[in-house]
Symmetry: C2
Subunit: 343 residues, 2 copies
DNA sequence: CTGAAAGCGCTTACAG
DNA sequence: CTGAAAGCGCTTACAG
């Protein structure tokens, strides 16, 4: 009680009349400690509000009980808000960490600069979760380097064969397929796809491939003129849609690669005096909270962020535990709302 | 290179032909190391991808270079999303931490359970940032305990006299005052206030006090029938508005204590066949991203999250550095959009 | 300018 | 069941 500063296990040892290692054993629940002694030690520890020094114990155990979340943004993204989808991922990752008794270090990165991925090198974290879309080609080398360095990491994103490391991602192909099929069932035939469709953005590319597959199943061919690049921001979606309309290409639906793109596109349609869904049906991807609030409410593909967070954390912990771990894709769910429902 | 596992400062010492302390001095930029020796050491460290072990150095320095963000939610809140306002705070806090070379531990808490505030006790963090609204009376005792334990912490929220610890918050009184004045200038006279107005929710209470002050300046008295409790969710705002309408109280404006409440209220108004702003003007508070996207766009009070994050981090670091630190309130800005503009 | 020594607080073989 | 000893990797007075 009269100890200055924080109590240590040695302080407790003195008060309990035992050696310091015995205190350590008692606190860690070792079975080879006399029950009475243990009780006495635990009581004193509680009275002193003693907490094991994590620096000392991590140093000794070579294990931090901490994971790091590296969130990186595309530098082409405007400074505004982060994709709300990732907020929901952050929430589920935090909860999954708590469930597994892990603490979570969070860091926002710029893709442009070198990733500050040395949390593990400095033993501050046992592994890293990578979150954020960007140019995949740019990040691939870095991922490769992480693998070579033996860094433990999992990333959120398309799980494609031959990728460096472990990826957890939604079944983007299925999502693109299902939502396009839905549009076709609504009678749409001139469906524009807004979003990058190159290997630089594998998630979007997979959604586009699913889109094309669905078209083909209905005997339709994908037209290059109906695909227009966009990144995941409202501004980009709005601009892409304006360009599309300016080209005069006749369309009856927009299949956007993300909800933010879709919402930007709806704004452009409104400005052009077109009604959603009567003149043009619109769909998104992600099911961010905004999707349900927007008017008309947005039909979209829901990603299972809860399962995603759990899988990311569990696989990372398995990796840290030296188990073999595979990439995995997570099923998605079509959510039909007003923006796609025609007569 | 042929060293198994991670390189240590001792490995570098061997390779550089110096003692381990010299390596430590060189890496920390001590001026009393020969320039050539320093260069050699730094080169070798780089080649080995050496990173100082933070557990060892924190243990020795008694300083973790890490802050913890405790985010707590009101248990009465539905499981849905977190108040988007806090996402923006999270972003600015993360950036401020990076700026000050601090790592950030993030943890979501339930108000109901005991705060897991022992990051500092375990020396994992040097101080704590508390973020989240809840019943202030419930948290007050816990804050008091933190102060008694000598925990370094700052909290986001109303900065009121006599509070335990340091608080950084918006000037809620001014915000409530300004937005009400704006409504009055638009000709509104029957203004309902949606949000708690008790000392259990000091931020809302301050907004309400500002609201009342503005009314009085215009020779109007606050009417109890025009205030209705609500917490910061759309659902709560919608319900509060429905109740209000059901009571048949004539109103020409709703001054909501937060954007989410306002958005819920707008939904209730729409369902009741009332037009915003023609029949009822609506205002919010926070300026979350949704506020600008919603239709009609929401007039609101913008909180300066960027400055807030900076202040929270800077004051906490000052506190850790044993400086005297005061609470502070941050100016807010009225943002006029469509939802309040009458003819 | 540099090295030998001590110590941060813990955990775990190793003896008893 | 318990203690004495060693060591995790670093930083910093203390000598030189």
């Amino acid at each position: 009680m009269t100890i200055k500063g924080k109590a240590t296990s040695l302080d407790i040892a003195h008060l309990a009349g035992v050696s310091q290692p015995t205190v350590s054993r008692a606190l860690r629940g070792s079975p080879m400690v006399n029950a009475e002694t243990r009780e006495r030690i635990l009581r004193i520890a509680r009275e002193l509000n003693y907490k094991v020094d994590k620096n000392a114990s991590s140093l000794r155990l070579r294990n931090a009980g901490t994971l790091a979340l590296l969130f990186f943004e595309d530098p082409t993204n405007d400074d505004s808000l982060i994709n709300p989808f990732f907020h929901s991922m952050l929430g589920s990752i935090t909860r999954a960490c708590a469930l597994h008794g892990q603490d979570l270090l969070v860091s926002f990165q710029q893709l442009s600069t070198d990733w500050q991925a040395d949390y593990e090198d400095s033993n501050k974290a046992d592994g890293i979760i990578l979150l954020g879309y960007g140019d995949y080609h740019e990040s691939r080398d870095r991922l490769q380097r992480l693998v070579e360095q033996g860094t433990h990491f999992v990333r959120w994103g398309a799980a494609l064969p031959g990728q460096p490391g472990v990826s957890i991602g939604s079944d983007n192909f299925q999502g693109g397929h299902d939502i396009t099929t839905h549009l076709l069932q609504q009678g749409c035939r001139r469906i524009a796809f807004l979003g990058h469709a190159s290997s630089h953005y594998p998630e979007f590319q997979e959604r586009y491939r699913g889109h094309v597959a669905a078209l083909q199943e209905h005997g339709l061919a994908a037209e290059a003129a109906l695909q227009h690049d966009a990144i995941t921001t409202e501004a980009s979606g709005q601009e892409a849609c304006q360009t599309l309309l300016a080209r005069g290409e006749p369309i009856d639906a927009i299949c956007a690669a993300s909800d933010l793109i879709a919402i930007g596109a709806m704004r452009a349609l409104r400005e052009a005096g077109l009604r959603v869904p009567q003149d043009v049906a619109v769909t998104g991807f992600d099911d961010i909270p905004l999707a349900a609030s927007v008017s008309p409410a947005l039909t979209t593909v829901q990603q299972d962020t809860k399962q995603a967070g759990q899988l990311l954390v569990e696989r990372l912990l398995a990796l840290i535990g030296r188990q073999a771990v595979d990439s995995q894709s997570i099923p998605v769910k079509l959510v039909v709302r007003e923006s796609s429902q025609r007569g």
